[in-house]
Symmetry: D3
Subunit: 161 residues, 6 copies
C-alpha cells in the first residue's frame, strides 16, 4: 500500500481568493525618482540622449508595465485597467526626476501594485537610456502615495520631509 505524506503548506505561496470582493472603482498613485548628474539632466531636457526622448519612452514603458503587472508580480491578481497616467517633474538641486504613476480600474482588487510597477518601469527606462553617460544614477525611494476604493478603505501617505 502507498504511504502518503501530506506536505505542510505553511509558508507556501498562493494567489488568494478575491471572488467575494466587490467590483468597484479603485485608484492608486505611486511615486519614485531618479537622481541624475547635471550632464544627464541637460541631455534629457534638451533631448540630446542618443537613444531618444527619454521621458516619452519612459512614459510608454510605465503604461505598458502597469498593464503587465500580474505577469511581473507572481501573486498579483490580473485586472483590466481603465486608465494609466505617468507624470514627471524635475527638482534641480540636486538634479532629481520625480515620477508619479496614477492607475484606475473598476475591479475586485486594488491597483497599488500597478502604480508601483508603472513608476518603477518608467524609472528603470530612464536609467537604461542614460546609462552611457553615467552609471551612478539612483532610483527611488519608491512608495505608494494614496489609494481609494475597496473594503480596506482609502490610504494617504503621511508627508515626510
Amino acid at each position: 500500500m502507498n504511504r502518503l505524506t501530506h506536505i505542510n503548506d505553511q509558508g507556501r505561496a498562493k494567489m488568494v481568493d478575491v471572488s467575494d470582493k466587490e467590483s468597484t472603482v479603485r485608484t492608486a498613485q505611486a511615486s519614485t525618482s531618479v537622481e541624475v548628474n547635471e550632464e544627464i539632466y541637460k541631455a534629457i531636457v534638451n533631448q540630446t540622449v542618443k537613444k531618444g526622448d527619454v521621458l516619452s519612452v519612459a512614459q510608454v514603458a510605465g503604461i505598458m508595465a502597469a498593464k503587465n503587472t500580474s505577469q511581473i508580480i507572481p501573486m498579483c491578481h490580473p485586472l483590466a485597467l481603465s486608465g494609466v497616467d505617468i507624470t514627471f517633474r524635475w527638482e534641480t538641486s540636486p538634479y532629481r526626476l520625480h515620477i508619479t504613476a496614477f492607475v484606475k480600474t473598476k475591479g475586485p482588487t486594488g491597483v497599488e501594485m500597478e502604480a508601483l510597477t508603472a513608476a518603477s518601469a518608467a524609472a528603470l527606462t530612464v536609467y537604461d537610456m542614460c546609462k552611457a553617460l553615467d552609471k551612478g544614477m539612483v532610483i527611488g525611494p519608491t512608495y505608494l502615495n494614496k489609494k481609494t476604493g475597496g473594503k480596506s478603505g482609502d490610504y494617504l501617505r503621511e508627508e515626510q520631509e
Copy 2:
C-alpha cells in the same frame, strides 16, 4: 505631385545598433531594499504571511524579471542570460530587507538593466505580499553596485555613508 516632409528625428527613440560589439562575458550586480515595520519583518521571518513565503516568491519574481527585461524596458537589447542569483539580508534597526541581484551573460551588451530590473521586481513582490499588513513600505534606493566586461570597462560604485 506629392510634397514630402521629412520628420526631424531629433529626440526620437531607437534601439541603438550593437552588432559591432564583441560577445564577451559580462556581469552586473544591483541592489535595492524594502523598509518595513516590525510586524512585517516578523511575518516574513516566521513565514506567516498569508500569501506565502515572501522571500521564495520574490526570488523567483526577480529571476523571471531578469529574463524578461527587454520586454519591460523598451530600448533594452534582448540577451540570453547565463545566470541570475538573488540574495537577501536583513537589517533590523530599522527593519530593512536588502536585496541584491547578480546577473551574468556572454553577449554583446551589458546586463546592468537585467540586474536592476531583477532587484526591482523582487522588491515589488515583497511589497505585494505584505501590503495587507501595511502600505507604508518604502522601496529603494535602487542602484548598480558594479559591472564587469565590455568595452566601457568595469564599474564599481563608490561606497557611500
Copy 3:
C-alpha cells in the same frame, strides 16, 4: 530650497480613463489582404509550403494576436475577448488572399484594435511562411469594415471601388 519645474504634459502619452464607460456587447470587423504570385497561390492552396498549412497557422496567429493586442499597442486598454473569428477568401486575378477578422467582447471599450491587429498578424504570418518563395508579397490595405456597440455608435465603412 528645491526648485521644482513641472513638465508640461502636452503631447505626452496616457491610457485614457474609461471607467465611466458602460460594459456592453461590442463587435468589430477588419480586413486586410496579401498579394502573392501564382507560385505562392498554388503552394498555399495545395498545402505544399515547407513550413506547413499556411492558412491554419495564420488563423491561430490572428486569434492569439487579438488576445495580445493590449501588449502590442501601448495605449490600448486590456479587454477579455469573448470571441474571435478569422476567415479567408481568394481573389485570383491578381492572386490576392483576403483576410477578415471578426472580434466580439462584452466590455467598456471597442474592439477595433483587436480586429485590426488580428488581421495584421494573420497577414504577417502568411508572409513569413511563404517568403522563401518570393519576398515581393504586399500586405494590405488594412482597414476597419464595421463596428457595433458603445456610445460612439455603429460604424460602417463606405464601400470603395
Copy 4:
C-alpha cells in the same frame, strides 16, 4: 472581373463566442504527478537541489502559468482569475510527487484549462530543477478532478485505482 473563391471554413479554428454566457463563480481542480527516483525525492525533501527549493519554485510557476493560460492555449478565452492554489503531497513507494491545482474565477467561462495548465507547469518545473540528477522522471497522468459552476453543470471525475 475578379473570381472570388470562398474558402470552406470546415475544420478551421476559432475562439468561439461566449458573450451570451453568464458571469458566475467557477472553480476547477486538476491533478498531475511526477515520478522520481529516491535520490531526487531526498534532494527535494532535504532542499539540497542545486537550483533551489523545488516545491516553492514549482508553486510560483504553476500560479503564473494559470494566469498566462490564454497565451499558451490558442483557443482558450482570457479570464481574470480570482484565486489559484497549488498543493503537493508525496507518495513514497514508488516515489511520486502529486500536484493539485485549484483555480477559481468569476467569469463567463470555466477554468479547467487554467487548472490543467497550472498543474502541468508546476510538474515541468520540478522536472527542470531535478533533471541534472536523472532525466528519467515521468510526468502525469494529468487530468481534471472536478469543476463547479457554469451552464454545463458540475463535473466530478470518477475515482480510478
Copy 5:
C-alpha cells in the same frame, strides 16, 4: 494489439531547422503607411491628440514589436536583435504618414519579419491613438524594401509608382 496510424504530416506546420545556417550580420527594411484625414494630420503634427504624442508612442510600439516578433508570428525563429530604427515622413496630398522600420541582427536567420512587424505595430498604434477622430484611416500597403545578408543573398524591391 494496438493499431497505430501515422498521421500524414503533409501541410502540418513546423519551425524549420536553421542550425546549419551561419550567424552573419543581416538587415531588413520594411515600409507601411497610414492614410489619414486633414484633422488627424493636424492633430498629430500639432501634438494635440488626447492620447499623447502619436509618433513617439508609435516608435516605441514598433521597436517593442520587433523584439517580440517570434511571439506574434508562430513559425518565426527567435533572434536577439542588435538594432531597430523606426522613421516617419509625411506626404500631404493626400495626407499619408509613411513609416519605415530598419532592423539589424547578427544571427542565423533574416530579420524581414521583424521589420514588417515593427512597421505594422507602429501603424496600428497610430490608428489606435487617432481613431476617436476618424475610423476611416487605411493602413498599408506594407512591404519589404530590402534585405542584406544570409545565403539567399540581398533583396531590393523594385520601385513601383
Copy 6:
C-alpha cells in the same frame, strides 16, 4: 549600529551559471499522449470539432510554447531555438493520440524542457478544443525520449512496455 543578519541561502532558487558551457548543437525529443473516447477520436479525425482542426492548432501551440519555455519554467535558461517539430500518431484501442515534440538548438544548454513543454502545450490544446465533448480525457504520461549534445552526453530512454 545596524545589526545585519545574512539569510542562509540554502534551498533558495537561482538560475545557475552556464557561461562556461560550450555552444553546441543540441536536440531533444519528448512524448506525451491524450487518451480520448471514441466520439472525440472521430471528431478530431473528421475535423468536426466546433473550435476547429484540433491537430493544426495543437501543433502551433506546441511550437509557440517551445519558444516561450523560459517564461513558463522559472529557472530555465532562455535559448534561441533553431527548429521545432511536433508530430502526432493515433492508437485506436483504446483511443490515444500520441504527441512527439522534437527541438533543436545551437547553444550552451540542452532543450529537454523545450521539448517537454511543447508536448505538454500541444496536449493541453487538444484537451481545450475537445472538452465540450468529454472532460474525462487524460494527458500523459509525459517524458523525455532522448537528447543529444552537451557535456553530460546523450540520453536515450529505455523502452518500457
